[in-house]
């Protein structure tokens, strides 16, 4: 029983971190129909900046989030206007190619700046855990989960309670209709992309403590994150959270009860089965796409 509870807790904590990492990806897809393959590279970039700040001035990765999110926001806004904006009317495949190119470009740049060696950030708590009886809750993951809750809750509030949120949702459902009622779809898209990249900033700061990283690590992340948002329903924020928690728990249960060598395969089999039963994902809606540009 202890083993099961421990696996469940670790799975939920990892799932929380996954949710944070995937939130920007699903947001960008939901509003812009852009599958941002560079999202993993943004995470690793944020992780490297966190590492540099930690090395240079001893800045804690959690504190680095406050510095990173505005920087990544500005970076995302510039990147959108420089690269994605010109192809916004092209078919989705163009954005996949473009963002894949961006990921490769960033990987190269990071290799030049930081080298192709493994890096990791080690604040005091990286090796510590909270203990409850026989169970342990790694501090870094708990903090990661808390940051995820804060970031996701803020995103949710912005989306549901603010004018910007309504504009974002309106652009997602029907861009032409949104423009008719005075929403500037292009600047909303730029802001959404920037928010998505900013959330990768927060995610990268947390990931830098949990996992060693090098410029090429983004491949491993983008595969996992795409799995999560497909499972949750592409474009749905709550769906991404549920998908992330499911994947985290599935991974840990597999490691504990089937064997670690199945840890990559079994969760994807789970994704596959869910999609067979519900092709739009757990919380995905099919109508949104049908209405959008019909």
């Amino acid at each position: 029983m202890t083993e099961f509870l421990q696996a469940l807790i670790l799975g939920l904590l990892i799932g929380g971190v996954y949710a944070l990492l995937a939130s920007g990806l699903t947001l960008i897809f939901g509003v812009m129909n852009v599958i941002n393959i560079a999202h993993g590279a943004f995470l690793i970039l944020a992780a490297f900046i966190t590492w540099s700040l930690w090395r240079a001035i001893g800045l804690d990765p959690l504190a680095a989030i406050f510095a990173l999110t505005p920087v990544m926001f500005a970076f995302g806004w510039l990147l959108y206007n420089a690269t994605i904006r010109p192809i916004r009317r092209a078919p989705p495949a163009a954005s996949v190619l473009l963002t894949f190119g961006l990921a490769l470009f960033l990987e190269g740049i990071m290799g030049v700046i930081w080298g192709n060696t493994s890096h990791s950030v080690r604040p005091e708590y990286f090796a510590q855990s909270f203990e409850i009886g026989e169970l342990f809750l790694p501090k870094a993951q708990v903090y990661g989960g808390l940051v995820a809750i804060v970031v996701l809750a803020s995103l949710y509030l912005v989306l549901t309670r603010s004018w910007l949120g309504r504009a974002i949702r309106a652009s997602a459902v029907n861009p032409q209709g949104a423009e008719l009622v005075g929403v500037n779809a292009v600047s909303v898209a730029a802001l959404t992309f920037a928010i998505g990249v900013a959330s990768a900033g927060a995610g990268g700061a947390i990931a830098s403590v949990l996992y060693p990283f090098l410029p090429g690590s983004h491949y491993q992340w983008i595969a996992r994150l795409l799995g999560i948002i497909v499972l949750g329903g592409m474009g749905s924020l709550p769906g991404a959270v549920i998908g992330a928690l499911c994947l985290g728990v599935a991974e840990l249960m597999t490691v504990t009860y089937i064997g670690p060598e199945w840890a990559t395969g079994v969760p994807y089999a789970f994704v596959f089965i869910v999609l067979l039963l519900r092709p739009q994902g757990i919380l995905g809606t099919r109508l949104r796409q049908d209405v959008a540009t019909a």
Binding site: A7, N116, P138, P260, T264
Partner: protein
């Protein structure tokens, strides 16, 4: 008129190409006779200079370059002819490495070959050399299956194949007094052609001595979450954990053990702890205290030529660290050098003589004396290293030890 001109250009181009081809042939023939002096001897290798194995690949290139400089400073390889390394980048890719070695042999017409880095890349690359009947001394690539193919030209220039990497340490454990000897052991390992056999070798020795296996699982490189494994180990509470790792997962695993608050009495890892400052930087210096590992080279070694190698390395590349992979590459080149000098030829048609000589003789290298069986497996023993007070030391064999003490357990809280 236009057509005639085009034809003329084509004929001229063909004539030029043919001339160039003949020139290459002459180079090859001249090398065989050993008459021409001053003509460089081309030694070809393809290394993973970019991609997954770029760090060890770059270190290996440095090792080859140190050897090139050293040999040329001594007046060349044979007949006073200098060495010229021809190094390609295989991008850590199995297909590219095959294309590269084919190109080195047929287009660049190199006189001699040296191996690439990792078992994964040496597996196909050595097959190209074998097909072309060229001696292939590899600086890495200790997976046992490399030597099960009946190859005649393949030689591994480290002390032992992967399955024997931990022999010396495992024997030390089994020889501990009864009350200090661990009773149970766990073997988590990465699915890797080097790490896995290393663990199987250690497990065979420990279980023969009655140390019970309580956990044996394999994970894949794309699984970044080792917390589940750490949690399973904590539940089984083994006395000794033997971890088959490469660098990244090795570091992540130690961090996961720390998060799970689980400290086995002993911790042995393959590969990762030999990465020096990079390793201690990633897990924290005090966490390293007492961690065991297998290693092929140390810069403090008193083996013949090691001091000169270390000095030359520092002169050429600066810094205090001398990567193990650079030393392994240098040693591989030393093995090639010894064979060429003893047999006295670089003729591409006579390379079996170089291989036969290596099968019958022992070669002194900076890794110590190396000798091989018929299949090219080295017959020595790996060194055993241990992190002590934030510094990697060699503890076994006694002759090579840089520290008199062996810390009997892992003390992640520091040297206290």
């Amino acid at each position: 008129m236009h057509k005639v001109f085009r034809l003329l250009v084509v004929v001229l181009a063909l004539a030029l190409m043919a001339a160039a081809g003949c020139g290459d042939d002459d180079d090859g023939g001249g090398g065989g006779g050993g008459e021409a002096s001053g003509e460089p001897i081309k030694v070809g290798a393809s290394l993973p200079l970019t991609g997954e194995f770029s760090e060890p690949g770059k270190a290996a290139r440095q090792g080859y370059e140190v050897w090139e400089a050293t040999v040329n400073a001594k007046g060349g390889l044979i007949d006073g002819r200098p060495v010229q390394m021809v190094i390609k980048d295989d991008q850590s890719n199995q297909n590219t490495v095959v294309a590269d070695y084919n190109a080195l042999i047929s287009r660049d017409r190199v006189d001699l070959l040296l191996g690439t880095f990792s078992s994964l890349l040496n597996l196909p690359a050595s097959a190209v050399a074998e097909r072309n009947r060229m001696l292939y001394v590899e600086p890495a690539g200790g997976a046992p299956e490399l030597f099960d193919r009946g190859f005649k030209y393949l030689f591994f220039a480290q002390q032992a194949t992967a399955d024997h990497q931990g022999d010396l340490w495992a024997e030390w454990v089994t020889n501990l007094p009864e009350n200090e000897r661990p009773k149970t052991a766990a073997y988590p390992t990465l699915d890797d052609p080097f790490a896995r056999p290393a663990l199987e070798g250690i497990e065979a020795i420990l279980s023969d001595a009655g140390i019970k296996t309580v956990y044996r699982e394999t994970y894949t490189i794309d699984n970044p979450n080792l917390d589940g494994i750490a949690s399973a180990l904590k539940a089984r509470n083994p006395d000794v954990v033997v971890h088959g790792a490469t660098f990244e997962d090795g570091v992540a695993f130690v961090r996961a053990l720390r998060r799970a608050n689980f400290t086995p009495d002993m911790l042995y890892q393959t590969s990762a702890p030999s990465f020096g400052d990079q390793y201690s930087g990633a897990i924290g210096k005090q966490t390293t205290e007492g961690i065991f590992y297998g290693v092929s080279h140390t810069k403090e070694a008193t083996t013949p030529g090691n001091k000169a190698f270390v000095a030359k390395y520092r002169e050429m590349f600066g810094g205090q660290e001398v990567p193990e992979d650079a030393a392994d590459a240098y040693a591989a080149a030393q093995v090639l050098e010894a064979a060429v000098k003893a047999v006295g030829t670089i003729d591409r048609n006579r390379q079996i003589e170089l291989a036969d000589w290596l099968r019958e003789n022992e070669v002194d290298t900076i890794l110590g004396p190396l000798r091989w069986d018929d299949a090219g497996r080295p017959q020595g023993e790996f060194l055993v290293g241990q992190w002590q007070s934030g510094v990697p030391e060699i503890i076994l064999p006694e002759a090579a030890a840089t520290s008199d003490e062996i810390i009997p357990e892992w003390r992640p809280e520091g040297a206290g």
